[in-house]
Subunit: 312 residues, 2 copies
Amino acid sequence: MISFIAGGKTKVIDLQTIENLLGESLPQEGEGYGVLSEAMRYSVLGGGKRLRAIMLIESFRLFSDDRELEKYTAHPFACAIECIHGYSLVHDDLPAMDNDEYRRGSLTTHKKFGHAMGILTGDALLNYSMEIVAKAGENLAKYKPDYYLDNMHNFISATGVLFRKAGCFGMIGGQVLDVEGFGDDRKIDTEDLSLICELKTARLFQAALCCGAILAGADETAVSLLDEIGYLMGLAFQIRDDILDVTATFSETGKDVSSDEKNNKSTFVSIYGLDFARDKVRSLYEEMTEKLNRLPGDKSEFCKLFEKLYSL
Amino acid sequence: MISFIAGGKTKVIDLQTIENLLGESLPQEGEGYGVLSEAMRYSVLGGGKRLRAIMLIESFRLFSDDRELEKYTAHPFACAIECIHGYSLVHDDLPAMDNDEYRRGSLTTHKKFGHAMGILTGDALLNYSMEIVAKAGENLAKYKPDYYLDNMHNFISATGVLFRKAGCFGMIGGQVLDVEGFGDDRKIDTEDLSLICELKTARLFQAALCCGAILAGADETAVSLLDEIGYLMGLAFQIRDDILDVTATFSETGKDVSSDEKNNKSTFVSIYGLDFARDKVRSLYEEMTEKLNRLPGDKSEFCKLFEKLYSL
């Protein structure tokens, strides 16, 4: 039985805090032009587990208990990564991509606001992620000049990591392989599938963990270990998602059941089979736990997160 | 007679230098995943006047003759703004938007690489603009620690300006109004049209001028004046573009002639008439020249630029 963080009774981290941060951070409804703010809020605030935001903040907390620095750096980065994740889903759902009508039980952005608005809302969210980061840098300089001098280097470094992991050599690169690989109904092999998963899913997980740590001043060894953990988490997450895709119902997932099957997509389950896929998740779970234990700080929140996500 | 910078015999600034910077800055062909690098280079390097890059660098030079600082700050920002401009054109050409088949005499990105790749190439370019800026910050910290301490504040500030002007309260906001206004064949009035133009076109012109000046350490009064000049330049540019749309041939513009007419779009020419539109460009030209003369530094390059762009 796989349970969601958001749906579970115990929360790994205060999800409401993250929802509030995001709600305050995004353009307010009625602000700006036309339906754009509404569409941006609809796309990002329509539920979701906020995994990447949680991972980013918890990773920060492994290395720093300075809540003021967290507020000025990790919080905006957490909002930025959720905007990036949100835009990627909006564009992924477009007719020319997966052509999905529902996500998390609601109409996808382009179904609700129209095709052109689907494209523009995604663009606006990606751009907004950079606005959030830039504004955070400005605030750091303005309100926390001491922090600014000490931490600006980390701040810039985390910005680079975030957008490189999300970009043409990261997440978007994975989308391209996905489109190219499935475009002609060619079945892809496990190596292709793993690479696509590494890029499409794991890169943002890695970005979350690495950015949090970098912003807290973690050393290179620790950041590198978190990069590895992010990779394992992303891979396990995708395999679990593929398992869910064939075993869960619409009410549980909120999206078209077996949309992968509908699109005739190769998945870890279609290639490995259900049992092997479950075993793979279990072994990845063990591996990430072993790596986690080599890190400093209180790792109990991460342990809970792993358990919620990967125990089968 | 309206002449292009790129096509003219005299160049306002060394266009080849900017092409080289962009060519080096973008992912190299064969790098990365699938056809993405190729599509990114195709979309950005397929000609264009590089107005925004030129404006950014020339604005920097109004306030600083430090070529080393220019190299580490204004040059990457110039590349970033061309990536932003490039992505906006790629997405603007998509079937759900303007549905254009040609741009600058070549197939539009989605016509050449497919619909999904049109979306992803635009995403990758917008994301890449942030990667360029972040990398520039990292390089500044690494190779120019003295500059870094002195100029990081300006660097962060310029980053905020760039992405706010390009975002939901700027360029993308204009796209949304454009889509909403024209979506139901409703004819819009001059006020709507001016606002759309201000957002869609002028915001990036303002970003170019303001970022260049901020990176060079210009004071707020000067930056504010450049913001006004950018607005006038954008408005005049769009009106001139509308004039061109009804008077030029495919070989001159490289795009579908009268694509606005094809899409039944209201333009400054369709509302004002050709003569009044020309008068408007002339008066905007005078106004921007008057404001320019209030700025410090050698303004001769800007004068040449204005003349090239706006003399009729």
